[in-house]
């Protein structure tokens, strides 16, 4: 119980953190000379694909939780591994995107867009990374048999965090990639 | 040195209003002081009265255990709320009177804050000046406020409220000066090492005097007469002073330091730090960092007579 409440509070305060970053992003995107440049450099299609991986990792983690509750340890291990793989693919995709942008000379210091884009997505990436570290640890512990009694609240707790990270990405994806796209088409 | 300097200055507290804007704010301030004093006195009286009356007498029974009282609680919310609402509307009215929308009025003067001096440009004329800012009396003036480096803030208490000068933004302030005089103010946003010495002097002049000043100021710099000053003028151009300072009518056209075209006619130098005289000027040119540490003017290694020449030149730039 305490752990769940704790992680909810963590998620709450992290949400405020991302809110601040997103507000900064939106604020800058309203300044002149921001949007066109932005839409040119981002590749929505490939990002949408690796985003899908992240979103499905939420689903797989949820499956893991369910199986844990039912005591199905083998399936639990499978879903956990799948979650890890999906998360890693997302990070890989993000890394790729960064590399491409840097090749096109879009960096954190190159422009206002670079500054806010790399900061926002970078902090999100860090959170994904931290989540993956935690998930690897609990996966390892699962394989070592630490959770064979199904009383632990650890999956529920980690789950809340992991879903949160996904939801943040949903917003980031909407605001950074999709909305300006519409803007470009209409205006 | 400084004692002499400020004799001819109007007192400059927020209560010495010399503009209708400042007067309105003063009015509101006084209303507030009255209301606030009433509240404070009430609290002081209640506190002392209760403390004295209900001080514990030895061996006393527990007093009556009262936990609340709805009526009283309503009063506790109601009275302050009423006061606060009153002041809210009073302040809205004052805000709109003091700082109405600019509309399409174009600024009468553009002042830019630099670390650590003021640059003033008079649109419609060729005049650029620094630090001592001349304005006409009786005219409603729109000031545009900008910053060249960090945030500064324009504040002359007798003329009304402040306004920040923020890099990348244009801010505006209205002012109508009632009577001629010199009004002291100061930069009121912390802007680094010499924020303390970024004082403001507004020289308010009657329309006649002001026109005269405009005419004099628009003219090019005084051409040095004696040999010493002429040597100074040459030095000024040669020793890169000209890359930072402008002296209209000469080749000196730098823009990073204060305009010196009519430097000799200013009473103070270094934004109110000291009187503008040859001793101070000599010290400044010998080692700026000694006089105003951190100022963005490098130290030049001059011989004594170079300093004397430069001083002579600058003093003649009336």
């Amino acid at each position: 119980m305490e752990n769940k409440l704790m992680i909810k509070l963590v998620v709450g305060t992290e949400a405020m953190f991302f809110l601040a970053l997103i507000m900064a992003y939106v604020y800058f995107s309203l300044l002149p000379g921001f949007s066109p440049q932005q839409a040119d450099h981002l590749d929505i299609r490939s990002t949408a694909i690796f985003s899908a991986f992240l979103f499905s990792s939420s689903f797989t983690f949820w499956r893991a939780e369910m199986n844990f509750k039912q005591g199905k340890m083998t399936r639990l291990k499978g879903w956990l591994l799948l979650t890890l793989v999906l998360g890693l693919v997302f990070l890989f995709g993000q890394g790729n995107e960064y590399a491409r942008l840097l090749r096109e000379n879009v960096s954190i210091s190159s422009s206002l867009f670079g500054t806010s884009f790399f900061t926002l997505t970078g902090f999100h990436g860090l959170h994904v990374f931290a989540g993956l570290v935690v998930i690897s640890i609990i996966t390892a512990l699962t394989f070592m048999g630490d959770y064979d009694r199904s009383t632990s609240s650890v999956f529920g707790t980690v789950g809340i965090y992991w879903h949160f990270v996904d939801i943040v990405w949903l917003f980031v994806f909407l605001i950074v990639y999709i909305l300006p796209h519409f803007h470009k088409i209409t205006g | 040195m400084t004692g002499q300097l400020f004799l001819n200055i109007n007192p400059s507290s927020i209560f010495d209003a010399a503009s209708p804007q400042a007067a309105r704010i003063r009015h509101l301030t006084i209303e507030f002081i009255i209301a606030a004093s009433a509240i404070l006195i009430l609290v002081v009286i209640l506190t002392s009265f209760i403390s004295i009356k209900y001080r514990s007498k030895r061996q006393q029974e527990d007093p009556k255990q009262i936990t609340g009282n709805r009526t009283l609680e309503m009063w506790m919310v109601g009275v302050p709320l009423a006061l606060v609402i009153l002041f809210f509307f009073r302040s809205l009215a004052t805000m709109n009177a003091v700082l109405p929308d600019r509309g399409n009025h174009s600024p009468d003067i553009i002042i830019t804050g630099h670390q650590w001096f003021w640059e003033a440009v008079y649109p419609g004329t060729t005049i650029t000046t620094a630090n001592e800012i001349h304005l006409p009396v009786g005219k409603r003036i729109l000031m545009q406020l900008n910053a060249a480096d960090v945030i500064h803030d324009w504040w002359v208490p007798a003329l009304g409220g402040k306004m920040d000068m923020i890099p990348g933004m244009n801010n505006y302030l209205w002012v109508t000066i009632d009577r001629p005089g010199i009004y002291e103010g100061a930069c009121s946003e912390f802007c680094g090492q010499q924020h303390a010495w970024m004082r403001i002097r507004v020289v308010a002049e009657s329309p006649g005097d002001y026109t005269l000043w405009l005419r004099r100021e628009a003219a090019g710099a005084h051409v040095p007469q004696d040999t010493l000053a002429r040597a100074g003028a040459v030095l000024f151009l040669e020793s890169t002073c000209s890359s930072c300072h402008r002296v209209k009518g000469t080749a000196a056209a730098g823009l990073t330091g204060p305009d010196l075209t009519h430097f000799g006619s200013r009473q103070t130098m270094l934004t109110g730090m000291m009187a503008n005289d040859s001793v101070n000027l000599g010290r400044w040119l010998t080692d700026p960092q000694q006089v105003k540490p951190g100022a963005h003017m490098p130290r030049f290694i001059f011989a004594k007579d170079s300093i004397r020449a430069l001083t002579a030149y600058l003093e003649q730039l009336k």
Partner: protein, 573 residues
């Protein structure tokens, strides 16, 4: 007598395995909430002296006009460090010290929910503070003021590493603060003795609960701003420099979105302390228990809607300013409610003037002065005149010292016997009170006038304008009186710890659970907890015939006959 299960963390308390004879090592490795609380408090005292000495140098420099005692860059570092230290490493740790120490005791728990996280929070805060001060050695302390405005905080204008240390230090302290708050919330919600309902919690615990949520919502904004600033300074990002397309004003929004709630973060727990002190020393229950809670919540909510009142002079326009003026004016009302609640608590009581109560009574007046000057800023045109002058300095010290510090001192004298098992010298403590209060008023009352006379804040020196020299000299003298007082306080505390009289476990005839244990409490707080049936369980226990819960039962059946107090008070209104 019923005994009640004492909640403690599920895993065995790690602290219980640490024996008590390991000296300093035992403190460093401790996860016991009381030891951590005491370490927070000492950290706070240490930094109070440091930040106090910094500002004494500043006051010396300002004692006379055109003084050359301090170079400008030194001056700027000193006042920046003074403000930053006082807020983040004096006020916050002191509050957290009392919180970690007393929240578990007041709710009848044996420790915090997460004892190791508690230790982590303290040590990160400690590390943050050390990092901030390391800047002095590393090439210069931060020098852009405690709110560190852009673009002055950018590398171009402040190239010494001070501001990097400011960012890093505050980030660490911020992480410590946030984790501690999470711990508090979980402890309060899950570790109360089962009998204690939310509506029976001591008000101090209530205020901490509200405050913790405030912290969780406010600090991320600061952390985000600090992270952005570090990116600007280290990786040449462009958040706050207009030259790179960024926005200087964005820093202000982010900072004050944190900064304003922050000033309430350091006052709400104080309101909690006073809500314990007033009833105990008036021998009456708090007047309007639920109103104190309600107004606390109102303050916490409003705190997020007023930040622009620090930016009235940035040219945001009259509409925006008007909105934030309204919210800032409104926030005075719940605060006023509390002041009157405490007055009404005293009314009709039997007041004992312990040092703790003296600070509480002085607070009523000093804080009202500070609060009213706050209200004057909320009236935008007045703020246009007075912002960034010494009038602001006066305001902030009246609320910080007359509010926060008085509250902490009141709490200190209230709880010191419980924490140490010893009683501080009465006579000296009274001397301390009068010296401190006198010094405080001398120092800061005159600054209201200085501000109105046109003296900006943060100036390392000033011209010899009429009156300025005298008033500043008075202010400096007051500062030295305060310094004497603080020195005396340290002496009183150290002496009391060494040879103070042994304190009883319940010296004040108090109401709440922390007084039911020994003084100081054993490593394990409680074996059993007395029954909790009202907000004053210990009083109920001591005076069963006059127990609150009995009276409440009567109150439900017949109308309360307490009319006289209305009459007495309402003609005062």
């Amino acid at each position: 007598m019923d005994t009640i299960l004492v909640p403690e963390p599920e895993e065995s308390l790690p602290s219980l395995s640490v024996s008590n004879d390991q000296g300093i090592l035992q403190w460093i490795s401790s996860v016991d909430h009381k030891q951590i609380g005491i370490m927070y408090l000492w950290l706070s005292v240490l930094f109070l002296v440091v930040a106090g000495i910094e500002i004494l140098l500043v006051r010396l420099q300002l004692a006379i006009p055109n003084n050359h005692f301090l170079a400008p860059e030194v001056y700027n570092q000193l006042f920046t460090m003074h403000g930053t230290t006082m807020i983040f490493f004096v006020a916050m740790p002191a509050i957290f010290g009392f919180t970690t120490y007393f929240v578990p005791l007041m709710i009848g728990a044996n420790d915090m929910a997460f004892p190791r996280l508690n230790a982590f929070s303290f040590w990160t805060t400690f590390f943050g503070g050390s990092l901030l001060y390391f800047s002095f050695i590393a090439g210069g302390a931060p020098d852009a003021g405690w709110f560190n405005y852009a673009p002055l905080n950018e590398y171009n204008y402040s190239s010494s590493p001070g501001i990097d240390y400011y960012c890093a230090g505050l980030l660490f302290a911020g992480i410590g603060t946030v984790t501690a708050s999470i711990n508090f919330v979980v402890t309060i919600l899950h570790y109360r003795v089962p009998a204690m309902s939310l509506k029976q919690m001591p008000l101090f615990v209530w205020m901490i609960l509200i405050n913790s949520f405030l912290i969780l919502a406010a600090f991320p904004s600061l952390n985000a701003a600090l992270a952005m600033l570090l990116l600007d300074r280290q990786l040449h990002a462009h958040f706050f420099s207009a030259a790179g397309g960024g926005s200087a004003i964005l820093w202000q929004h982010l900072f004050w979105l944190f900064g304003h709630p922050e000033v309430y973060i350091v006052i709400l727990p104080i309101f909690g302390i006073f809500s314990e002190v007033f009833p105990v020393f008036s021998r009456k229950p708090i007047f309007g228990y639920s109103m104190v809670i309600g107004s606390g919540i109102a303050i916490a909510l409003l705190a997020f809607g007023v930040w622009v009142h620090h930016m009235f002079a940035t040219g945001l326009g009259n509409t925006v300013n008007g909105f934030f003026a309204a919210s800032s004016l409104l926030i005075g009302i719940p605060t006023g409610v509390k002041i009157f609640n405490w007055l009404a608590t005293m009314h009709g009581g039997a007041i004992r003037f312990s040092v703790s109560m003296l600070f509480a009574i002085a607070f009523l007046i000093e804080f009202t002065i500070g609060g009213l000057s706050g209200i004057s800023f909320a009236i935008v045109p007045i703020d246009w005149q007075l912002t960034d002058t010494y009038y602001v300095v006066a305001h902030l010290h009246f609320v910080f010292i007359g509010g926060t510090l008085f509250g902490l001192l009141s709490g200190l004298f209230y709880w010191f016997p419980k924490m140490s098992g010893r009683a501080p010298d009465q006579r000296l403590s009274r001397w301390f009170f009068w010296l401190f209060v006198t010094g405080f008023n001398i120092t800061f009352l005159v600054q209201h006038a200085l501000g109105a006379m046109g003296m900006p804040r943060r100036v390392y020196t000033y011209p010899n304008l009429p009156g300025w020299g005298v008033l500043n000299l008075i202010s400096t003298i007051g500062a030295f009186l305060m310094a004497g007082a603080v020195g005396l306080l340290v002496y009183i505390l150290v002496r009391a710890l060494n040879k103070g009289a042994i304190a009883a476990s319940d010296p004040w005839d108090a109401n709440t659970l922390e007084w039911t244990t020994t003084s100081p409490p054993g490593l394990k707080n409680f074996d059993r907890v007395i029954p909790v049936k009202s907000t004053r369980p210990f009083r109920d226990y001591k005076r069963p015939e006059d127990a609150d819960w009995k009276r409440q039962e009567v109150a439900y059946t017949e109308k309360p006959p307490d009319i006289d107090i209305t009459q007495n008070n309402s003609h005062g209104e």
